[in-house]
Amino acid sequence: MTAKAKIALFQCRWCLFSPADQEWVDTQLPENIHLTKTPCTGKINPLYLLNAIQGGADGIMISGCLPEQCHFKTGNLAARRQLEEFNDFLHYIGYEKERVHFLWLDLQDRGIIQKELAAFEAELEAMGSTQHLATRVMRAEGGENA
């Protein structure tokens, strides 16, 4: 892969307790990482993941809180059940499981998300791009999608 791996980052707005980490994510994310901030991981619909994959993301990272630390009590539990199952399901039909990465953060964690993103990016670059699951191709590029 010549260009950098494209990562879609779904971040629960409560999971980064340290203001410095949140500041870094909000302002200093590298260009190849697309941030979607959600009120809670429970807000992340499996369709968001599918849209990111079909939109050309090489990998997806989901960052949320540990159990009993959810701002909304059970949002992360619901998300975990659905998203984990969705990932298993995508794997079943031939999408690499390693391309969806869950990062459940403790309130005390500092500076973990930067390291994890860098490691995930290196991992994705080693894997190369995937032909599994069709991506949208716009009309301007000769495809059928509007």
Binding site: Q54, A78, L90, Y92, G94, L103, L133
Partner: protein
């Protein structure tokens, strides 16, 4: 096979005694291969009622389509009974408004397999316990009944109705879990390229007619995610991305709600295989949460219930 006269008597009785306003069942269709769903509102109409192995629709589908205040009598096989239960769990119908006439099921015959073997223009199909006799222009032939069954019926786990008000016929032997999960295990044992190739080959034939959605009792949303356009959830065109997206998400919306009746696959005009997707989700629900959809009218599916019990499956830093 259920005794058709006993079925008619029961249907007439509940209509006469005012227990229900309408009985949902089957009547003969244009071809002997295609009996069609029918709504019987008085005793005379019930004379048309039939029930045989070629009745391929899941009748629970009509519960959400009929007016909500109507009391409904419905002919249920094992899978239909579980679909009814799942609709009650999802508050789509009250159990008190329903009268379930249970029929132990010996499997639904796949009409495509009959056409494959006997050809078109079939004039009569005799459905016996172990073999099916088909009267075609080319001659009269008998086939082994099990071989003609639809795939999801061959590996059916729960053949008897689980909560019927009355049972017409004797209960039959239930299927084995081993046979039911074999398909998923076989598919999973293939490598990732083969799995994707199969999925791609099946999904690309889709013409986006949504017959699978219309045939499914669990697909009752007023506005489906593919019809929603502000914001657009997914690609709605017949493009590779759109077709794959539809197949993935249609199946995923059934997780913990599918009763493996196979009505989606039987409804598909392009003969696309799709039960291998929902079977996988059912398999996971069984393995991870010990949940079987529709076995009673109270238990909510795993995605509607959350508990701290499975917190140990969380991990910091992606489990490394």
């Amino acid at each position: 096979m259920p005794d058709i006269n006993a079925l008619k008597l029961e249907a007439k009785r509940i209509l006469r005694e005012g227990i229900v306003d309408v009985v949902v069942g089957f009547k003969p269709g244009d071809s002997p291969l295609h009996p069609q769903p029918a709504f019987f509102r008085n005793e005379d109409e019930v004379e048309e009622l039939i029930h045989n192995g070629l009745c391929k629709n899941n009748l629970a589908n009509y519960l959400t389509r009929l007016p909500k205040q109507e009391k409904v009598g419905i002919l249920v096989r094992g899978c239909e009974n579980r679909s009814v239960n799942s609709l009650i769990v999802e508050s789509q119908k009250e159990r008190d408004d329903l009268y379930l006439i249970g029929i132990p099921c010996e499997g639904i015959i796949d009409w495509r397999r009959i056409v494959e073997q006997a050809g078109e223009h079939i004039s009569m199909v005799e459905d016996n316990e172990s073999e099916v006799t088909v009267h075609a222009p080319t001659g009269v032939n008998s086939y082994n009944r099990f071989d003609l069954l639809h795939e999801s019926c061959q590996r059916c786990l729960h053949r008897n109705p689980v909560s019927a008000d009355t049972l017409i016929g004797d209960p039959v032997a239930n299927g084995s879990l081993e046979l039911a999960t074999q398909k998923v295990k076989n598919f999973e044992s293939q490598d990732i390229e083969a799995r994707y190739a199969f999925f791609q080959k099946e999904a690309e034939r889709c013409i986006r007619c949504y017959a699978c959605r219309e045939a499914c009792p669990s697909c009752y949303c007023t506005e489906c995610f593919v019809d929603h356009n502000t914001p657009r959830w997914t690609e709605s065109g017949a493009t590779p991305a759109g077709m794959q997206g539809w197949h993935i998400v249609r199946a995923f919306h059934q997780s913990g709600r599918c009763t493996s009746c196979g009505a989606c696959e039987r409804a598909c005009p392009m003969d696309i295989k799709m039960t291998y997707l929902t079977e996988k989700l059912n398999h996971d629900m069984r393995e991870k949460y010990n949940f079987e959809c529709g076995m009673d009218a109270e238990t909510k599916p795993p995605f509607q219930t959350v508990t701290l019990d499975d917190k140990n499956r969380f991990f910091v830093g992606g489990g490394k």
